[in-house]
């Protein structure tokens, strides 16, 4: 059996679109004006633009080539394997794109009356049912545009719930392995963060948690499986500790892919759950967005959800917007959320169904366990326990021999794969976090494992190859310190070509998620 092809990105540099500009050249035009032109005083002189914005002047053909060439200098799932831990970079089915492009969805204005948007409302109500089924929750808001947006929404609901009960609590607990968005969202919601340590097995130290809880604790935010890829087997005890002081349990859905149809946050005792549909429900990441971060809550929190919410009026069979009452925290999005992403997620949920979603978790966990098995003799597993959908390696042994996790990650690029997530979670020395997802073949997993094993051997045989990697990518390591020190966030017409002095600093050891 032949190994999968190793993709190569385009090496040729591409000029900035502004550097292609020629005065008088253009692409788009407006129709000939078929109404009287506006009189000169239609806009007061003081408000008129003096100098035209320096947009590029380029023909359509050149623009298409420019952006096509840029795309060829970029790696996507459609290009190759993306073993990014915590990101669930699975295949994005193309049927979802066809669904989202239907004029009845794509050309719908968000403020059209309910009578004109029955199909869209029905799609949302049906997707809400599916997400409730998956999470074991009672109601959903679709307004959050991304996971972190869902976190803030959930924390504001947490706060509104406690304040409704006459309590101004101040603390939210997160594990020391948490994503950065968790503490950042906690701050924005007006709470302070407290970290509960992980124990020697990589799980929440439940005894420490039980000592931390008090009636000043608003809640606890965790992923399960946690960011080490390990299932928090004491989750019921964790829930009991939080609930015993009246706190709420928040489920960060970053790792929901591991348990689809095999376990439900609602059954574990969670009160609030956000999902990353751009992970679990296979909508494309788009180079960093758009995603969708719908939030599901238990029955007692449904009245606090942002409004309006899509609803079915059982009496008439008509779909409506339910405004809710004064308990709702209010609006989180200009309109109803990233509807185009919700259409894609809906098509995915319909295609997979109850049977297919369960298989997602099974194949994702199988792939992760297989890959961990292939690599554990070469790299240390950060915690020696059976992982779920992802696992964390430590390159501490490799570091002693002269290669850091970042060096290994950069060398992975030369083998035609995207790098794993590195330096996260923060509690693991030289962390390399790997999530293969369910849509990769065993051949790809083997090829990736072979590459990581070969790289390990190179640490001794060809150490410079790692230090200076990547060698086959469109650029070598960029000078990130210079980018921050001499901030250059845009092009100017009088820019000189960047000098050919050698870059000094390599990438800092910082998380890459």
């Amino acid at each position: 059996m032949s190994a999968p092809a190793r993709p190569r990105l385009a090496l040729a540099e591409e000029a900035l679109v502004f550097e292609r500009s020629r005065p008088g050249r253009r692409a788009g035009r407006m129709p000939v004006l078929d109404v009287p032109g506006a009189p000169p005083d239609a806009i007061p002189a003081a408000m008129r633009r003096r100098a035209a914005p320096r947009l590029p002047e380029v023909s359509e053909n050149e623009l298409v080539r420019h952006f096509t060439r840029l795309s060829q200098r970029n790696y996507g799932i459609d290009t190759g394997f993306y073993p990014l831990g915590s990101c669930s970079m699975k295949y994005n089915p193309k049927l979802a794109e066809d669904a989202a492009a239907m004029a009845g969805f794509r050309r719908l204005h968000p403020l059209q009356p309910e009578s004109q948007t029955q199909g869209a409302l029905q799609l949302l109500v049906e997707l809400e049912r599916a997400l409730c089924a998956v999470t074991g929750m009672a109601g959903v808001t679709f307004q959050p545009a991304a996971g972190a947006h869902g976190e803030l929404t959930g924390l504001l609901i947490m706060r509104a719930f406690h304040e409704r009960n006459g309590q101004r609590r101040h603390r939210v607990i997160i594990p020391d392995s948490a994503h950065g968005t968790n503490p950042a969202s906690v701050t924005l919601a007006g709470y302070s963060t407290e970290e509960v340590p992980s124990d020697a097995r990589g799980l929440i130290d439940v005894e420490a948690l039980e000592r931390m809880v008090s009636d000043d604790v608003a809640g606890l935010m965790i992923t399960n499986p946690n960011t080490l890829g390990l299932f928090e087997e004491n989750i019921e005890r964790v829930a009991a500790a939080i609930h015993s002081v009246g706190g709420l349990l928040y489920y960060d859905g970053a790792n929901l892919n591991a348990i689809l149809g095999r376990s439900r946050p609602g059954d574990m005792g969670f009160d609030i759950v956000h999902m990353n549909l751009h992970k679990t429900f296979a909508t494309p990441h788009g180079g960093g967005g758009p995603g969708a971060g719908p939030l599901a809550v238990s029955e007692r929190l449904v009245p606090f959800l942002p409004g309006p919410r899509p609803a079915l009026d059982e009496a008439t069979g008509r779909y409506t917007w339910d405004e809710g009452d004064e308990r709702s925290i209010g609006r989180m999005h200009s309109f109803w959320g990233n509807f185009g992403i919700l259409v894609r997620a809906s098509s995915y949920a319909r295609a997979l169904g109850s049977d297919g979603l369960r298989h997602v978790a099974e194949r994702a966990v199988l792939n992760a366990n297989y890959l961990a098995h292939r690599l554990r003799g070469t790299y240390d597993l950060a915690f020696d326990a059976q992982p779920m959908h992802e696992f964390v390696l430590s390159a501490r042994k490799q570091k002693v021999r002269g290669a850091k996790a970042m060096d290994i990650a950069k060398r992975v690029l030369d083998h035609g794969f995207h790098a794993p997530t590195v330096y996260f979670p923060l509690i693991v020395d030289e962390a390399m976090m790997i999530e293969p997802t369910e849509t990769e073949t065993v051949e790809t997993l083997d090829a990736f494992a072979d590459a990581l094993i070969a790289i390990n051997a190179e640490i001794d045989s060809a150490p410079e190859l790692l230090k200076t990697a990547p060698h086959a990518a469109p650029i070598s390591r960029p000078d990130e310190a210079r980018a921050a020190r001499d901030l250059k966030p845009r092009w100017y017409p009088d820019d000189h070509a960047v000098g050919h002095e050698s870059g000094s600093a390599g990438p800092a050891d910082k998380p890459t998620i």
Binding site: P56, H109, I329, H359, A385, I475
Partner: protein, 452 residues
Amino acid sequence: MEFAPHTDDDVRQMLDALGISSIDELFAPIPAGLRFDRDLDIPIGLSEIEVLRDLAGLAAKNRSADDLICFLGAGAYDHHVPSMVWPLLSRGEFATSYTPYQPEMSQGVLQALFEYQTMVSELTGLEISNASLYDGGSAVAEAVHMATAATGRRAVVVAGCVNPLYLGVLRTVARGPEVEVRETRWGSGGTADLDAVRAAASDASAVIVQHPSFFGTLEDVGALADVAHSGGAKLIVHFDLTSAGLLEAPGALGADVVIAEGQPFGNHLNFGGPYVGVIACRREDARRLPGRLVGETVDREGRRAFVLTLQAREQHIRREKATSNICTNQTLNALGTAIALAWLGPAGLRELGETCLAKARYARDRLVEVAGARPAFDAPFFKEFAIRLSADATRVCERAAADGYLAGLPVSRLLPGRGLDDVLLVAVTERRTHEEIDGLAEAVARACKEEA
């Protein structure tokens, strides 16, 4: 229909390698009591043919802006999406890529975002644009967070009429840091009352104005900048970028932070999202900027390279002290905005503004002449205007829809209880024709007569 590639043989061999005999053993870490062993309460999977048939059925239950002639705006506009935009955005190398944290594999997205940032900087008149926020509403909240951090003050003043949907987002999010949102009245022109703003802003972190306003009227950004700055507040301008070929850049008039809804360039209506939140600021505020920022640098060979920079502001580094919690943003939509702006170029952007302005003025005149409507406000406007009808605007819109028109937004839907039941907000983009505008005026006239 499933997308996992495993054959039965694959599964068996992988289980053998792991030394286990069943898939169930993979889930052994989950305590028995928490294992879900029923079927999820949703239908079983369908083929691609069936899924697309079902969704086409749902889509057909909607009446889209292809079925109705769209004069509805209020934050989402039926502008032309250039044909080249989505074929380029649909390229898998863009659409299925991750956040460009590995710059060596992401120069395409990084360079395109750098070009987007440059275009936003040109349109807003401020040097530093980030790589996108969620939408125009969340951009208001993020701009307020910047002003709060910069001034240490905990009140913001809303000048004139800002889209009530954006203010809804702001009021929700303001509860976290306990920021007070002070609304001020608008004058007969439908624009900010400078005296009211001055009185409210002396201890505020920022003055927020929408330009053109929610009512479409042009605000005096320069005067508002003076008012805000004299009290030590920042000026935040929510700007309609489609006007940027005609209207002076807010940054050139004294705005400190300019935000916008980027939907009109390259993004479909999509029932409200995904759109793209735009934010730009001055260089001295760069370290308070939320979200991702692309910067230029060099690689080891001295070649030009692009990276995510000033990451010490962001949640994955700074955690609870980050300037924002935003991680995933709207990159692909921002790329769409950049491509559409490049397609227009400076001449196209100016023509776009002139076309919208001329058609909006023609539409208002026809509605006055044919439908007996009166302008609700007397200030100059750009592509959207508020008009008083001789009948209830909601009822008129219902009747006009039967004639094939999305006549506009009945303003009372978003501003209830303010005596605006007869006010219609009409948006006119470059896509509308002379005949469509005449038809709208006649349909509204007919509806008003029937309601009388």
